[in-house]
């Protein structure tokens, strides 16, 4: 088990190195020149060259990349080009805390609502409760946040003043309620759908019939025999969402005025602020890799059929 985790972790630096290289190359050879964006289209070419030289952007590609990697290893991800003088690490850390906190809350609500509803629907297969839940799920999956958000804001905030329309004041403030409600709909719907499908499949299995043939109470049959089998495959979705925790929703953060990483990165793209884009790409790659590993490790604990390899 430990060997397995170590082996997987050893791959991570190589992965990051390659992803970093690609992103770096795209930044350097791709469209848009950060210096021109910074100084304006009609900047004096000599001045631009000077700035470029100061920033080290006129060195050979591999030298620049090696330099970047070397500094990154020491925790220095460079300075933002847009916010001159601001270290990328510090700039992102602040935004990242907000995004991660917010996403964790959204995901927790999605799981807490989605899984029980999914089970409820499965246990009521093909009756009104099931149909109602399935209907909600379809709506939840197909309605885009962009459509729900304004309605929720108008209804809950503007019209009836029930909730603040967003903003950020930490996870224990009332401000978080509306964005959470709106954003949790999607994940909740995904969990309902998957839980229901898994549960229906498991309830048809021979071993559930064996459990009933033993004389077990229906509650025991569901909880001790069916549920665990139905929940195991959900870890995969869970892992994907976990990886997504660090990536802020660009649009949603803007709509609800949440000062998360999504906004920062959006602006960075506009400004060709490569140090920020680089750091963000590496962060997301790392998050997905670690989330994947975490899920694999979890599987080994919840599913006895998977052995340490």
């Amino acid at each position: 088990m430990v060997t397995y985790v170590v082996r997987r972790l050893l791959w991570l630096p190589f992965l990051l190195l390659i992803i970093g290289l690609i992103t770096f190359a795209l930044g350097l050879y791709g469209p848009g020149d950060p210096v021109l964006v910074m100084m304006g289209q009609h900047a004096n070419p000599e001045a631009a060259a000077r700035v470029r030289h100061e920033l080290g952007l006129d060195r050979p590609f591999l030298v620049q990349y090696a330099d970047y990697v070397w500094k990154a290893l020491h925790g220095d991800f460079g300075e933002s080009l847009k916010y001159r003088g601001q270290p990328v690490g510090r700039l992102m850390a602040k935004r990242l805390t907000v995004t991660v906190q917010f996403n964790v809350v959204v995901m927790a609500v999605g799981v807490a609502v989605g899984i029980p509803l999914g089970i409820l629907a499965a246990l009521n297969r093909n009756n009104l409760i099931d149909y109602f839940i399935v209907l909600l799920t379809v709506a939840g999956i197909s309605l885009p946040v962009l459509a729900i958000a304004p309605i929720a804001m108008w209804f809950l905030a503007a019209r009836f003043h029930l909730l603040p329309s967003g903003g950020w004041d930490g996870i224990f403030s009332r401000r978080i309620i509306m964005p959470t409600l709106v954003l949790a709909i999607g994940p909740a719907a995904v969990f309902v759908r998957q839980t229901r499908a898994n549960m229906l499949e498991v309830l048809d299995q021979d071993y559930v019939r064996t459990a009933r043939a033993k004389g077990l109470r229906e509650y025991t049959v569901i909880v001790a025999h069916a549920l665990r089998n139905a929940l195991i495959p959900l870890f995969t979705i869970f892992g994907l969402m976990l990886g997504g925790l660090v990536g802020g929703g660009i649009i949603t953060e803007s709509i609800f005025g949440i000062p998360g990483i999504g906004r920062l990165v959006w602006d960075a793209f506009g400004a060709r602020d490569y140090p920020v884009i680089m750091a963000y790409t590496l962060l997301v790659a790392m998050a997905y890799t670690l989330a994947n590993l975490f899920v694999d490790v979890c599987y080994r604990f919840v599913d006895p059929r998977i052995r340490y390899g």
């Binding site: 043939a213 033993k214 004389g215 109470r217 025999h225 599913d303 059929r305």
Partner: protein, 331 residues
């Protein structure tokens, strides 16, 4: 009074394609300590008939639409769910066809046996585990104390079926229903399992309903045999009569397709033509008529009732095969 009396049991499945007439009014008795064989081709309602006895039919789409299942004089079909659960696994236990899928993959086999003991025998965890280990030893699992903590995937098919048997026998049931317990296993393992069940029958003295589509297995195991076809019982007899003097054309067909070791003359191995009917649109008349070599006009109009031909030997057939010639050549 027989231990288990089934009277006019009818089970249907209400599916999108139509109503599946899976069990069409079957009746039989099981005596204390007796062994009854149920044979028939696959799809003829054997499993559904015994699942109905335990009220384990998935509902919907299934429904028991008629009949009685008297166990020790009480109708299981009329019991409230709590009482049914006290019978299941405790008084009547079941071993299923596919040992690969019948055990829960995420629970240890020990746990899966313990829970029945805790439930029905009121044992605590420790007592239950002691008993589980004894049971596993009884069914021939080596190093039972260690293996109890293993998961189903760590056992072979034959071993899993032994575990299923240990589980079924854990609460000393009066009746063991074995639904094709050896069909999924290879021949040597099959023989071992049959020997095991015979030995346990001696020790525990439970009655057995043994389902199979293989007439060869039943001969050495049961006293009485029921032959099912399309959800009906078409012949019922002692093992001796059924093999020595089969009277229903279907049984004759089944026996004819069985290779025999004691055959002196070389006989052409014969297999029945045609397929069993679709249980969704069962036509009136004898369900076997389309495949029958002895068919007469009446067979197409009226379903024959199960009636005695000799003492303890009943068939559902309008024709006396002893005194008629096949109207169609056997092929």
């Amino acid at each position: 009074m027989a231990l288990l009396e089934i009277k006019g049991l009818k089970t249907r499945f209400f599916t999108e394609d139509g109503v599946v007439h899976a069990v069409n009014g079957i009746s039989y008795d099981l005596e204390e300590g007796g062994t009854l064989g149920i044979v028939g081709e696959s799809g003829c309602g054997k499993t559904v008939s015994v699942l109905s006895v335990m009220r384990l039919i998935p509902e919907p789409p299934g429904k028991i639409v008629g009949g009685e299942v008297l166990f020790e004089g009480r109708d299981i079909l009329k019991m409230d769910p709590d009482d049914v659960r006290k019978v299941r696994g405790n008084r009547i236990a079941m071993v299923f066809q596919d040992p690969m899928t019948s055990l829960n993959p995420v629970l240890t086999i020990g746990r899966q046996i313990d829970e029945a003991l805790e439930l029905h025998m009121g044992m605590d965890k420790h007592q239950a585990r002691q008993r589980t280990i004894e049971l596993l030893e009884t069914v021939g699992i080596a190093e039972a104390a260690d293996r109890a903590d293993d998961y189903p995937h760590q056992f072979s098919g034959g071993m899993r079926q032994r575990v299923m048997i240990a589980m079924a026998l854990s609460c000393n049931p009066r009746v063991l229903i074995a639904d094709e317990p050896t069909t999924a296993l290879d021949v040597t393992i099959q023989a071992q399992i049959i020997e095991l069940v015979k030995r346990l029958r001696e020790d525990i003295g439970m009655a057995i309903v043994w389902i199979t589509h293989d007439l060869g297995i039943i001969a050495g195991l049961a006293e009485r045999v029921i032959v099912m076809y399309a959800g009906y019982i078409v012949e019922r007899a002692s093992v001796k009569d059924l093999y020595g003097d089969p009277r229903h054309p279907y049984t004759i067909g089944l026996l004819g397709s069985l290779p025999r070791l004691d055959e002196t003359r070389k006989r052409r191995l014969f297999s029945m033509r045609g397929l069993p009917p679709d249980l969704i649109d069962l036509k009136p008349g004898c369900p076997f008529a389309p495949r029958c070599d002895y068919v007469i006009d009446r067979c197409w109009e009226e379903t024959p009732p199960l009636e005695p031909v000799t003492l303890g030997h009943e068939i559902a057939c309008w024709v006396d095969v002893k005194s008629s010639q096949p109207s169609k050549p056997a092929n």
